[in-house]
Structure formats: structure tokens, C-alpha cells
């Protein structure tokens, strides 16, 4: 599949637009309600981090689908110029903290989650096998 790629400004409105596109794609693929919720929630956490911590003005969303023996694998990458403010790398689950839950949520609900920073870009990679309602 050709990647679906789109660049957005870093804003709350753009988060909603990017998530709406991903949610529509998941619905077209008959993703189960649970899988859709987990995917959209993790994408939202990744995009929240960009708004809060990137210090950049735009980001690119890249969505790819792969057919594997286990099912359809959705791979979403959010990329932007290098992060100005370092995001916390702690993926432990705080009990009563007011912050720090985003990374653990992505870590727990994705089949693979990776936050990669290079001199050229910062990339959040989210991967999950889609489970359809028929298999639920």
C-alpha cells in the first residue's frame, strides 16, 4: 500500500483532523471498536506530545498497511523536526501523578511503540495488528 502521508500544523485543530482521518480508515477496515479506541487513543497521546513538547510548527502523519499472516498491520509514524524540549522517557505507570501516562499507554496498547530522535527528525512509531469485529 502506498503510504498515506499528510503534513499538518501543530495545533489542537490539526490533532482532530489527523485523528478523524485515521479513525475513518480504521472504520473502513472494519477494525473492532476496542482496537479503534486503542489506536486512536495512542495516536492522540503521540500528537499531544508533539503539541506539548516538540516546539515545532508542523508534523507529518504517515499511515501504512501491511498484510501479514497474523492479519493487517497498521503502521503510523508521526514525524517532525527535532524536538526542542526533551520528552520524558520514563514508561513506568505513575499511580497518582497528574502527568506521565501517555508513554505507558502507548507502550501497553500498541504491538510496537518507538520514540526515535535523530539530528534530522523526531519520529513516534505506532504499530498494531487490526482485529475486526468478525473476530471479536
Amino acid at each position: 500500500m502506498t503510504p498515506i502521508s499528510k503534513t499538518y500544523p501543530v495545533s489542537f485543530e490539526a490533532i482532530e483532523e489527523a485523528l478523524s482521518a485515521i479513525q475513518s480508515l480504521l472504520q473502513d477496515l472494519s477494525s473492532s471498536e476496542e482496537t479503534t479506541f486503542k489506536m486512536v487513543t495512542c495516536c492522540r497521546e503521540a500528537l499531544n506530545n508533539i503539541v506539548q513538547h516538540s516546539g515545532q510548527f508542523e508534523f507529518t502523519s504517515k499511515v501504512r498497511l501491511f498484510t501479514r499472516s497474523q492479519g493487517t498491520l497498521m503502521v503510523i509514524a508521526f514525524e517532525h523536526l527535532p524536538t526542542v524540549h526533551q520528552t520524558p522517557a520514563d514508561s513506568s505507570m505513575p499511580y497518582d501523578s497528574l502527568s506521565g501516562r501517555g508513554l505507558p499507554i502507548m507502550d501497553a496498547w500498541m504491538d510496537r511503540f518507538r520514540l526515535r530522535q535523530t539530528a534530522q527528525r523526531t519520529q513516534t512509531l505506532l504499530m498494531k495488528y487490526l482485529i475486526s469485529d468478525e473476530h471479536h
Partner: protein, 114 residues
């Protein structure tokens, strides 16, 4: 965010309806509203999640913030009617260990008064 009061001789319980989405874009407003209610002395809150479809970690922080504010003066924050997805998020983040979660609004209200 709508609110509704239940009064008894000793206590006032505030039922708070949260929006369909509680996310970073509107969490500050919800936080201020809850903290304002608590500052008015309404420290027994029943938060109705029945119409909520999405919540992120910013929304979770709103709930935890309310709990942290009321816990030292005998207040309570109960959650009602989360969808299976919202409940899964609460359990993943271990917030079901902090909050009592009810399926029924009347039961939550009665427990909050007690």
C-alpha cells in the same frame, strides 16, 4: 459540563457530567470547573462518564486532580457508567484503584452521601 446537586441534611453531592471527549484541548476548562466546585465546598463529586467516548491522559489528569484536592478533607470522587473502552483506560492506568466506579448513578450518589 453540566452539574446537578443532591442535598441531604449533612452533605451535598454534586453530579458532574463530563463531555463526550475529555482531551488536551478542553481538559484545562474541565479542571478549572471541578476545582471551582471543590473550592465552593462541594467535595463529594459523582462524575458521570456515561456520554464520554474518548479521554486521553490530560482527561485522566483532570480526574486525578479532583481526587487529590478532595482526599485530605474527607471528600469523595466517584465515577459512573464508563464505557468498556473508558473503563479499560482507567484500569490500564490503575485509576480503578483510586476511584470507586459505579454502573448506577443512584448507587454512586448514595455512597457519596454516606
Amino acid at each position: 459540563m453540566n452539574t446537578q446537586q443532591t442535598n441531604t441534611n449533612q452533605s451535598t453531592v454534586e453530579v458532574v457530567q463530563l463531555p463526550e471527549k475529555l482531551v488536551m484541548a478542553n481538559s484545562d476548562e474541565a479542571h478549572k470547573r471541578l476545582q471551582s466546585l471543590i473550592a465552593e465546598g462541594k467535595n463529594r463529586l459523582v462524575i458521570d462518564l456515561g456520554s464520554m467516548q474518548f479521554m486521553d491522559s490530560s482527561g485522566l489528569a483532570v480526574l486525578v486532580g479532583a481526587w487529590k484536592t478532595v482526599r485530605n478533607d474527607g471528600g469523595k470522587v466517584h465515577l459512573v457508567s464508563p464505557s468498556p473502552s473508558i473503563r479499560a483506560l482507567l484500569e490500564l492506568t490503575r485509576l480503578h484503584e483510586i476511584f470507586e466506579i459505579f454502573e448506577d448513578l443512584d448507587a454512586a450518589r448514595a455512597d457519596a452521601i454516606a
